[in-house]
Amino acid sequence: MAVNMAVSRIKREFKEVLKSDEIAQCSIKLELANDNFTELRGEIAGPPDTPYEKGTFLLEIHVPETYPFNPPKVKFITKIWHPNISSVTGAICLDILKDNWAAAMTLRTVLLSLQALLAAAEPDDPQDAVVASQFKDNYEMFCKTAKHWTNVYAKGPHKFPDFDAKVQRLRDMGVNDFDARAALSRHNWDINLATNDIF
């Protein structure tokens, strides 16, 4: 019964989300990743007036057989710099995806909540401690880094040539692109500290 309900519910939600206003505004998107409605691909637009503005973030959604009695498993595929999202794995720390899940919530709700999370980070309940401490101690640096990541990974508009140059210098030393960017981001773009961290 549970399998049946999970699939039939996803089918309904899917139809519904396709007709929703957010789709019309290109603010969220949902598509199937397999034929049996258990793997889906979500997409959310970065909310305006945030470092994620004009970025497009892809999400991996796995619907458990016990859905909607248990929450869907969601993580970011697109790399993102955010206190509540792991910069390495894309894992998300959000209460409704854990203990505060309710059966009346839907995938559309989840996507909208994630969008809200991008707009209102919660550094006191972090998934990524490094990002969270930067958010609290050096907010300006956090914003620039987040914008830079949005530009590189999520087609965001803000380019930071000095950041790109520093990444390039580490790459010249044989470090791969992501590791270089992650290390520099962790060390507030201090290339010496980042280099020490890597080697």
């Binding site: 939600e13 909607p68 309710a102 709700t109 909540s113 809200a116 209102a120 919660e122 309940d125």
Partner: protein
């Protein structure tokens, strides 16, 4: 903490908007007017926000949300005792069956038979009357079938049309064919009537059975007033069988001294010492009231042999219970092995001679009164 609150609120606002599918009927309907009113009808009240389908066996929560009974049960068995809509704590006593909504849904569904668009409910192809046996649970699949099955459906239409032609060649004039329609119409209304009557009969039969059980229960309490009237029928045959077998004895039905009193019965057999004498004893029986009664039984036992023609000839004997006699103690077996009464109650030939036997039946009356 702060974030939990804010995230929760935004989600709930979304969730309540969300529980109303914009259009659950798919695109197979050509009647926008009706579709719209159905849509209105199904808003919120008739939709379970767990399975997003029609409410099935709806329940209403204390906080005012409706769910299918099975959906909410399943949610609660996941150790989550909070309402899926607003996270109010829900105990089992905060959930009530919502039969009003159940009836409403039944009514609405009746008026939209083609809308049975929910899991496990089959929608038939619109050509099903032309024997297209395609069935599905999803409006989308039906849509696809309607598009892809065009050739098949035209074939069905054609063969159906040809059959109609044969019928038209039947030598029936117009008035007769009208009669035929009328006949079919009547037939279907008769069938409806029979169905309705059948349902009614089932209800009445059930009612009758319930009444019979009640009457039986009443009759059994009637016997609980301390008087046992024992009509010993087939008296001659019984005497003969007791004469042939000295261990043979007959017991009466059970009686009670009062509705909640001692249970007892009577027994006859032939005296072992004097074979022409009838013995008559009263036995206490193990009863459902024994635990609260006082033991040993203390009371008066009046035994009467009734002369049905002339009451003045009836024979009455009165005995008082004696606490030292085991027969008055609480029975350890179904029927107390000791009885009290008369080993030589009456000579059988005497009973017959004095006219106590009427229609081969002897009437013994036993009254047990607590003192």
């Amino acid at each position: 903490m702060n974030r939990e609150m804010s995230a929760d609120e935004s989600v709930q606002a979304e969730a309540s908007n969300n529980s109303i599918p914009k259009n659950k009927t798919g695109s197979t309907l050509n009647e926008p007017q009706r579709t719209k009113s159905l849509e209105e009808a199904t808003q919120e009240n008739y939709m379970c926000s767990i399975c997003l389908s029609w409410l099935e066996d709806p329940v209403l929560t204390k906080c005012g949300h409706r769910f299918c009974s099975s959906c909410l049960n399943e949610w609660r068995t996941k150790k989550n005792s909070k309402c899926p809509m607003d996270s109010h704590d829900l105990n089992i006593e905060d959930i009530f069956p919502d039969n009003y909504t159940k009836r409403q849904i039944t009514e609405i569904r009746k008026s939209f038979p083609e809308e049975l668009n929910r899991p496990n409910v089959m929608i038939e192809c619109r050509f099903s009357t032309l024997s297209c046996d395609f069935k599905t649970t999803s409006a989308g699949e039906l849509d696809l079938h309607m598009k892809e099955g065009t050739k098949e459906h035209i074939d069905l239409l054609l063969s159906s049309y040809l059959r109609t032609q044969y019928q038209a060649w039947d030598p029936l004039d117009k008035s007769q064919s009208n009669d035929k329609e009328e006949f079919f119409r009547q037939q279907s209304s008769t069938r409806d009537l029979i169905n309705a009557m059948f349902e009614r009969i089932v209800i009445l039969e059930q009612h009758t059975r319930e009444q019979a059980i009640k009457i039986e229960a009443l009759q059994s309490t009637e016997k609980r007033h301390g008087t046992l009237v024992w009509k010993i029928e087939d008296f001659k045959r019984k005497v003969e069988s007791m004469q042939n077998n000295s261990n043979m004895m007959f017991y009466s039905t059970d009686a009670y001294t009062s509705p909640d009193g001692y249970k007892f019965c009577a027994r006859i057999n032939l005296s072992h010492k004097m074979r022409d004498y009838l013995s008559l004893h009263v036995h206490l029986r193990k009863g459902e009231n024994d635990y609260h009664l006082s033991w040993p039984f203390i009371g008066r036992i009046k035994i009467s042999m009734i002369h049905t023609k002339n009451a003045a000839l009836s024979q009455h004997d009165c005995i008082m219970s004696k606490p030292e006699i085991l027969a008055f103690h609480r029975p350890n077996e179904e029927i107390s092995c000791r009885g009290f009464g008369f080993t030589e109650y009456a000579i059988i030939s005497d009973i017959i001679k004095r006219g106590f036997i009427e229609n081969d039946c002897l009437v013994i009356k036993i009254q047990m009164n607590i003192v």
